[in-house]
């Protein structure tokens, strides 16, 4: 049992760091579309997987170019029904198409990790590790006719014992513009990265490390959460969800999304959701200047360097979670095991991204409120119910020195709900060399600012094809 608060915080942080060593992280760069359109990765990516304004529009348009025409698509799709069959519906199946070449792509990440952390007893452990590979991602993406698109991703994370951990990270189908103006409505169903995290979820960052303080906080604890949980177990902002989302772009610059998803899981009897109640979320953004969120330029000229623009995107989001009936074990100060439910977990936050030519400043804030009920694990008798809150924020600056050379610095701060626990302050610095459009080398340093012995230096070679 961990009794020392400081050590406990370090242990959780170290656990989170270690978890990134062995658990695959989301990644997204889709050479499928490079093939389909016979275009470079840099059409959509400033440095993969970070999207430039055009790439953001391409994604939000349901993996289609703005005002896409047949001429742009170099791989002629396979017809699954002539267009005139639309006149026959419902007497015949509505026409569609599928990609002519198998729409698959691979991403591989090889990493050398030099990490310093603490073990459970507080000892410092320094380790240099070749993780070749650290992870391999198999992507599949494309469009199915005029109104459907899909994205799949299976990730293989290399385990220390030589085995691998496999996770389906994305398995989604989009119904694009089923009615109304183009891009006003998209319906997404499956397992996906929710769009309330558009712009700051790991798969859209240039850094190797994600923003753990936004996604990996664990609020469960005797006096409230103390810090980050293991990857994928945090109950802050889920980075991947299973559910249904509606999103769209209106007036070229207004983005909205609403979603209904499984919350904490897994549940009993091989179910995915911990209870039958669904979590809800919403986000709204407005983008000032630059390219419209759907790729519209309003007839004005934009810089030929497609990573540059002068723009400001502001967004607000909210997440409402319901964890009633989902029990976690916690221990009180005397070591007694108790049962805890996070019966209501609400998150509100904001996001900002300013693009100033070669500089992209992004930041985000989330405030979490958790209604924690403590009960006797044997009798179920409620012992206490309290509301706890935590705050997390980050600020990041990405800079394009020259297209092949880019850098990033991020500061993260997390004030846990347990007032007796220290806050987390992390810094993450990255230098990236885009060796080729689809090969990049990253040098990334991540450190706990309260502890000089808690850091990680990663040299990562990543390529996609």
């Amino acid at each position: 049992m961990i009794t020392n608060r400081r050590n406990r915080g370090f242990f959780l942080f170290a656990l989170a760091v270690l978890s990134t060593l062995v658990v695959a992280a989301p990644a997204s760069a889709l050479p499928v579309f490079a093939r389909k359109y016979q275009t470079s990765c840099q059409t959509c990516h400033t440095i993969f997987p970070k999207l430039n304004p055009f790439g953001q529009a391409f994604r939000l348009n349901g993996y289609r170019m703005p005002a896409e025409t047949e001429e742009m698509i170099k791989e002629k799709p396979v017809s699954l029904g002539a267009d005139a069959y639309a006149k026959m519906w419902p007497s015949a199946v509505f026409p569609s198409s599928l990609p002519s070449d198998a729409p698959f792509a691979m991403n591989m990440k090889l990493a050398d990790l030099y990490a310093s952390s603490h073990d459970e007893s507080g000892r410092t452990i320094i380790h240099n590790d070749f993780q070749f590979p650290q992870e391999v991602n198999l992507f599949s993406a494309g469009t199915l006719g005029d109104n459907f698109s899909f994205l799949g991703e299976v990730t293989y994370g290399q385990l220390p014992d030589g085995g691998s951990e496999v996770e389906i990270e994305h398995a989604q189908i989009n119904w694009d513009s089923p009615f109304g103006p183009t891009n006003a409505v998209h319906v997404k169903i499956g397992k996906f990265a929710p769009d309330y995290a558009d712009g700051f979820q790991e798969m859209w960052l240039m850094t190797n490390n994600g923003i753990d303080t936004m996604f990996a906080y664990n609020p469960i604890g005797y006096r409230g959460g103390t810090g980050l949980g293991e990857d994928g177990t945090g109950i802050s902002l889920p980075s991947l969800v299973q559910g249904i989302e509606v999103y769209g772009v209106l007036a070229h610059r207004f983005f909205y999304t609403v979603g209904m998803v499984n919350g904490m899981g897994p549940g009993p009897n091989d179910t995915f959701d911990g209870n039958s109640r669904k979590d809800l979320y919403a986000r709204m953004d407005w983008k000032f200047g630059g390219m419209g969120l759907d790729g519209d330029t309003g007839g004005s000229e934009l810089p030929p360097q497609n990573w540059r623009e002068t723009s400001l995107r502001l967004g607000v989001f909210a997440y409402a979670g319901d964890g009633r009936g989902i029990d976690f074990e916690v221990q009180d100060d005397d070591g007694n095991t108790l049962s805890m439910q996070d019966r209501r977990y609400d998150r509100i936050g904001g996001y900002a991204s300013a693009m100033l030519s070669d500089l992209n400043l992004i930041g985000g804030y989330v405030r979490g409120n958790d209604r924690l009920r403590l009960s006797d694990p044997e009798t179920g008798e409620m012992l206490d119910e309290t509301k706890r809150n935590y705050d997390a924020w980050y600020a990041q600056a990405d800079y394009v020195i020259a297209p092949p050379f880019q850098c990033s610095v991020r500061y993260e701060n997390l004030r846990p709900a347990d007032k007796s626990a220290d806050s987390l302050r992390l810094v993450n610095a990255n230098f990236s060399w885009l060796v080729r459009a689809n090969i990049k080398l990253m040098l990334e340093y991540n450190r706990d600012l309260r502890d000089a012995k808690n850091y990680q230096l990663a040299t990562v070679l990543r390529f996609a094809y």
Binding site: T69, E70, E71, K76, V78, S79, L80, G81, A82, D83, A84, Y85, K87, M88, A92, V93, P95
Partner: protein, 193 residues
């Protein structure tokens, strides 16, 4: 004697400026892979009607394609649909202006026919192979042409005069312009979605 008279009539007709003209040009089709398969035609000419030709037009179903992909005909023309494939084919149309005909299904080497009585742009489909699609453009005059992949076309034997020339494409918006033919005339178009 009859032969001489006929030859003299044909010679006179050929030398007449009324039959010597043509309309040529290019159609730029924006938003599709090439500029082929657009039909350029002269619209109704006031006071003139054109009898249906006795010869049938022909469309082949070959290698799971309608060949040609787009066939213009004058109203009243009968079209023969031949199946050249070793698999069964069907021809039907969902279009009301073509009376939603369905010719059934027939094997290799056989053909079936239908007559297109009304002006219409008819979609041709095959129930056996849903991806197959062809078109018959049923037009009011026999002055028409289908563009090549580069968009070029030529309508021959057009009498001198001023006409409304139209362009139709299976996927793009139609266009029209007035064209005066005096021996020869050029008319270019640009059409898009």
């Amino acid at each position: 004697m009859k032969s001489i008279l006929l030859a003299a009539t044909v010679a006179a007709a050929i030398s007449s400026p009324l039959l010597a003209g043509d309309i040529h040009g290019k159609v730029a089709c924006k938003g599709v892979r090439n500029s082929g398969d657009a039909v350029v035609y002269i619209d109704k000419i006031a006071g003139k009607t054109f009898p249906a030709p006795k010869d049938h037009a022909k469309i082949d179903q070959s290698n799971l394609l309608f060949v040609p992909h787009v066939v213009p005909v004058v109203t009243g023309t009968t079209v023969d649909f031949l199946n050249s494939d070793a698999v069964l084919h069907n021809v039907f149309s969902p279009d009301g202006c073509a009376e939603k005909f369905n010719l059934g299904t027939w094997p290799k080497g056989q053909s079936k026919s239908t007559t297109f009585k009304k002006e219409c742009f008819v979609s041709l489909l095959c129930q056996v192979h849903p991806e197959m699609e062809g078109f018959v453009a049923v037009l009011p005059t026999p002055y028409f042409a289908v563009t090549a992949a580069d968009g070029s076309y030529k309508i021959s034997d057009v009498p001198d005069g001023t006409y409304q020339v139209k362009v139709w494409h299976p996927k793009l918006k139609a266009a029209a312009k007035s064209v005066t033919v005096a021996g020869t005339a050029a008319a270019d178009f640009e059409i898009s979605k």
